[in-house]
Symmetry: C2
Subunit: 488 residues, 2 copies
Amino acid sequence: MFAEAEADPSLSKEEFKPLEAKLRVALLNAQYQRLQKADKTLLVVIAGIDGAGKGATVNLLNEWMDPRHIKTLAYGPREGAELERPPFWRYWNDLPPKGSTGIVFGSWYAPLVLEATRKRPDQNSIEAQAAAIRHFEAMLASEGVQIVKLWFHLSAQAQKARAERLLASPETSWQVSPIDLKVYKKYDRICNAGQVVLNLTDSGHAPWVVIPSADEDMRAARTAEAVLAAMRQRGVPRIPSAFVAHARSTRIVDRLGALDYDAKVDKDDYESELGLLQGRLARAARSKKFQDRSLVLVFEGQDAAGKGGAIRRVTHALDARQFDITPVSAPNSEELARPYLWRFWRHVPRHGRIAIFDRSWYGRVLVERVEKLTAPANWRRAYAEINDFEGQLAASGAMVLKFWLAVTPDVQLERFKERESSPFKNFKITADDWRNRDKWKDYAAAANEMLARTDVAHAPWHLVSANDKRYARLQVLRHIVEAMEDQL
Amino acid sequence: MFAEAEADPSLSKEEFKPLEAKLRVALLNAQYQRLQKADKTLLVVIAGIDGAGKGATVNLLNEWMDPRHIKTLAYGPREGAELERPPFWRYWNDLPPKGSTGIVFGSWYAPLVLEATRKRPDQNSIEAQAAAIRHFEAMLASEGVQIVKLWFHLSAQAQKARAERLLASPETSWQVSPIDLKVYKKYDRICNAGQVVLNLTDSGHAPWVVIPSADEDMRAARTAEAVLAAMRQRGVPRIPSAFVAHARSTRIVDRLGALDYDAKVDKDDYESELGLLQGRLARAARSKKFQDRSLVLVFEGQDAAGKGGAIRRVTHALDARQFDITPVSAPNSEELARPYLWRFWRHVPRHGRIAIFDRSWYGRVLVERVEKLTAPANWRRAYAEINDFEGQLAASGAMVLKFWLAVTPDVQLERFKERESSPFKNFKITADDWRNRDKWKDYAAAANEMLARTDVAHAPWHLVSANDKRYARLQVLRHIVEAMEDQL
């Protein structure tokens, strides 16, 4: 894999000059075409051996292309608020919009390469990290992000020679740190690590390209060619099934239909029970242990099922400074320019905090599916993507609890009519609501499939009978309180 | 000012019950009306004496209103990346969109109150902070943000009694910290500080309301009434001139017309000079001292004046990991839902970093003025707002350098034609460009006025003759290099 690069091939000035001219025009041209179409993001991932001129190459790309539409994203070890979120959080947050190019330094490969470079690498950790990366890149690729990954390579001799050359001049010696010199001694281990990483994560939709880096011109030309090839790639990539996370295949049962819609609570019982549960929630949310965890609450359900009212009974027990409610409706232009889950990643809570979603990422497999707002392929793969997303949240310390508030058509109709006749609720009811109501069965089928495919231990669904608002609110509170008391 | 609150007035249950019912309906109603219109943001600023129940009141507002459309924004002392930006940066970044409500804890008043509470307060600091706040709030008020500021007050006896009551129960004692008890001893000083702060910053467009806080019901009712009054306020507030920053009145001279457009550099001189300047820039940007500063570069000028080319000559000398280019075009929906400068505050650089704007906030007094995209009142007050913004950047360690690249109409025409005939530049030329060209004189007048009103020592304009691209690029680089070498 590294054989060619190990031989330190070079280009003569006579070969390079005309090539350079051609590549620069082609790159700029391709970049402007992408900007105009604005249907894809390009991510160029930079990795490889230290001292192979990665930084210089990124500068060169910025010079050859129009730097106004390139975001250079450089990451060090995670710190501060990053440590309280999943490792991929910062990469999601920084995703550049469609039409533009991101160059990623210290990417999601940095921890994997580090692990693979250890004297005794942890194979389980390597496998797990590689799988997470495969899912991440497959999801990006499916959603309009083109990825090309460059591994900069050169021989041990060339590496040493370059360091000596840089160290010789005070103008360039700052480019070589004492750490670099130490790293150079581990040349063999880093080469092996590279082999492992590339083998585990190479794919047609997010290919690795090894860049021979001993000769500056060769490195520049090969880099430009690799980026150009990625930019010219057309169409939706075919993603091998081994790279994609899969939702469990499961029998879809009519959980919505099997629910007891007559469940109710009388007013007196409700008042006393509510107070008790809110007291327990207040204590759990203010407990010391919760300072190392976070809580993500998802509320879904038919229109007028009482999501807003349930949320208010929850927040009543919380300090307003510790929660944040995100009402989810149609995506805006910034959101449409990124992969679907981006808008939700932005709201992932820090430790000690509570994020409440009034509707959520499940819109993909509910309204977007039923109203045909997205292609079937998109909502079909969304189940696994969502399981993956919630799995990452859970792994970073979040408790993820999901509620479907279920009403029957007659109760919904009653509430719609009540809303229409109330002067201060009638804005809550729109033509959309009546239209959704006509598709009751489609929505029910979508909800049942969603419940079957995404009810997982680390992020359970609670199906709540909500014909009686009091009963529903107590159920919601009880599930939250019990989950928190159980886990804290 | 605090006389009424000092008397610790209270409401009987019989008075409160019907009032509460009325207020809750009215609040929710007003909130939903605002959401539907989505033309204003409401900011409720929370301040006052410790132990007056500020936190409890914020929770109450979240309970009485629909918490899904409230953002509770709580701030502690500035830390991390916040310290490398102006103090107002975090408040700008977090501004909720139009239609929604923000409740602000630990607001821009916290440092001012702290200073005013000292044994020997620094009067200059107090005056300066108050003036900065007046400008900030006036700008927000002019741009669709309604502000109401609540000062929670109670007598020293009531403060003490409340603390004792809370401390008596293990359920509530956590609400009183040892710090609080210490603060209570300074009751008189805090009252005086409150007087000073309220006197300096009370206004019709961002009024202070003193909330008597000894009695819970009285506190709740008065808070709800104050918020309701703010929500019901209609129309654009009239802002007294004393609260508004003013651009210097100055004679507007035709600087664009007086420029020497024949200035040029021959190719050989250009190449050698360019290399030297880029070397100096590279050293300055990598210097140790720059790690405590930042650089903000603004590029404006006629279409086809060569902004992109000049920017690339600058970035060529920089490490791609340390700069960020923001190309500015028409605002998107998230940006339109906030005050004008919000979209630029988001890109204020950390220390050690360089933010480059290809077009900028000056669009307000250029394209928005000439094309009548905003009301005259908006662009007229923008000069002072921009001076204030750049002043804050400079005070936080940024070097702010602004470039106007100036070409003559004939040279622009030449370049337009060249672009049209080049297969890979023709996307750069649109109907807009030709239309702008028809308004040449209007744009020139707007540019001259902008130069006259915003050429300030802390953020100077460099008017650059750009008929010769080489000359322009060297001028830009020279100004940057000299400014950096001078200040580092």
